[in-house]
């Protein structure tokens, strides 16, 4: 089979609504082996849709995350503007073990369950400030622009040690970068500005360390200052739009199922249900391997679909139902294997704090437009909402 076979189904497929992955996924799971599909670039890839197969692929050492390998899939054109270890030192999601491990090991103390719990008051303050600002501005808001996007960027800028006076600059540039309605030109300019800013910040922290992540990573000495810019940029981008989409979609789903507001299982179930990063974990085989009886050859691209895995009937009963009571923690919304989201515990805290404060402080919160008319990100790499008009 060649990369330009026109008989293959086009990928990605469109979601029909907030809590539903593309209906084709259910059909693919029933096929023996894996399904071959065609990317917008014309290249063919293997789609992985069963929960167990996604876990298998994401833990197989013969499967690589490095886009410099021939055959690595791209959703956005030839290179897709995706950084690689060559173009951006420190972009360790694109590295395989053992190179990857130095970065991960240096960073994990910063994101441990205990460390992130200590950040809870900081996150709560940021969330509270955003709600104050919304309330002060009147009886309506766009919950994406006014809340879901600024919260994660203010959290990460605080964590990195961005001084208070620069937070507005930092937040506005980050927002341009991760908002899908920005033009390529705007995005490129924002990337440059942020990288320049981070380089300068790292230089300052080298001379005058503070109590922040960048200073601690410099002190650890295992990541070079040049790599640290890439690492900081990665932390900034990876946790940003994903978290914002999770917060906004979660508010929408809770408004549609208000009986669950305040339930302890809400965050985990929302992560599973929405699986916003369905298309993120792209891979390539570096050797021949077998997955569910399907031979994947070295150099063939693989797309493990986390939304498909998280809606696999075999792993989650009535998968399309929002049921925080199921307490199913084995979802793969954060991926699986050595690249599983480093910031996942931070995301959980941000979502928890966001829902708690929003529904506590604005009990009359409701949609300003019917749910079916909301502008979902049908064409983005991440699923989410362009805006979420609310009123109270």
């Amino acid at each position: 089979m060649t990369g330009t076979d026109t008989s293959l189904a086009d990928f990605p497929m469109r979601r029909p609504g907030v809590a539903f992955p593309p209906p084709e996924y259910a059909h693919f799971r029933e096929q023996p082996g894996l399904v071959r599909s065609r990317l917008p670039t014309g290249a063919a890839v293997w789609l992985v849709t069963r929960h167990e197969d996604v876990r298998t692929v994401l833990t197989d050492p013969r499967v690589s995350s490095n886009p410099d390998h021939d055959g690595f899939p791209s959703l956005l054109g030839r290179t897709g503007g995706v950084p690689s270890p060559d173009t951006m030192p420190g972009w360790f999601v694109a590295l395989d073990p053992p190179e990857h491990d130095r970065f991960r090991k240096t960073l994990i103390p910063e994101f441990s369950v205990r460390r992130i719990r200590q950040l809870r008051p900081v996150v709560e303050r940021i969330v509270g400030d955003r709600i104050d600002a919304m309330l002060a501005a009147g009886g309506t808001a766009d919950l994406v622009a006014d809340f879901a996007l600024p919260v994660p960027s203010l959290v990460i800028s605080g964590l990195l040690g961005v001084p208070e006076v620069d937070r507005d600059f930092f937040e506005s540039r980050t927002r341009v970068l991760v908002t899908t309605t920005s033009t390529d030109q705007q995005r490129e300019a924002a990337t440059k500005q942020l990288l320049r800013y981070l380089d300068r910040l790292i230089a300052i922290k080298r001379k005058r360390p503070g109590d922040d992540l960048i200073s601690r990573l410099l002190a650890a000495g295992t990541i070079t200052p040049a790599e640290l810019s890439g690492v900081s940029m990665l932390l900034l981008i990876a946790g940003h739009e994903t978290t914002a989409n999770n917060i906004a979609l979660g508010v929408l789903t809770l408004l549609m199922h208000p009986q669950w507001i305040g339930d302890a299982g809400v965050v985990e179930e929302l992560l599973r249900l929405h699986s916003v990063a369905d298309l993120v974990a792209l891979r390539v085989a570096t050797e021949d391997l077998d997955v569910s009886g399907q031979l994947i050859r070295a150099g063939e691209g693989i797309v493990p679909l986390v939304a498909a895995a998280n809606h696999d009937e075999g792993a989650f009963g009535c998968p399309h139902r929002f049921d925080p009571g199921r307490k199913a923690r084995h979802h793969v919304a954060f991926g699986y294997g050595v690249h599983q989201c480093l910031g996942q515990n931070l995301v959980r805290i941000e979502m928890e704090a966001a829902y708690q404060a929003l529904f506590d402080r604005i009990p009359g919160l409701r949609l300003a437009r019917p749910a079916a008319e909301l502008p979902f990100k049908y064409d983005g790499v991440l699923f989410g909402l362009h805006s979420l008009p609310v009123q109270w």
Partner: protein, 65 residues
């Protein structure tokens, strides 16, 4: 009774084990898994088996005795 062993070399610090079974697993100052209770009671067995299942690095082994 279950018996737990962890491979700290494999651990990638996701903390899923800590969230699943907080009385059994913890992360040390380096973010790496530590076992607080190597032989947890039967009533903790389900949580521990879940931790084994969801650990993204497959660093946890549980033997049921």
């Amino acid at each position: 009774m279950v018996e737990i062993s962890v491979d700290t070399e494999r651990c990638v610090g996701a903390g899923q084990c800590v969230l699943s079974a907080p009385d059994v697993f913890d992360q040390d100052d380096d973010g790496i898994v530590t076992v607080l209770e190597a032989n947890p009671d039967a009533d903790q067995a389900a949580e521990v088996v879940q931790a084994e299942r969801i650990c993204p690095a497959q660093a946890i082994t549980v033997r049921e005795g």
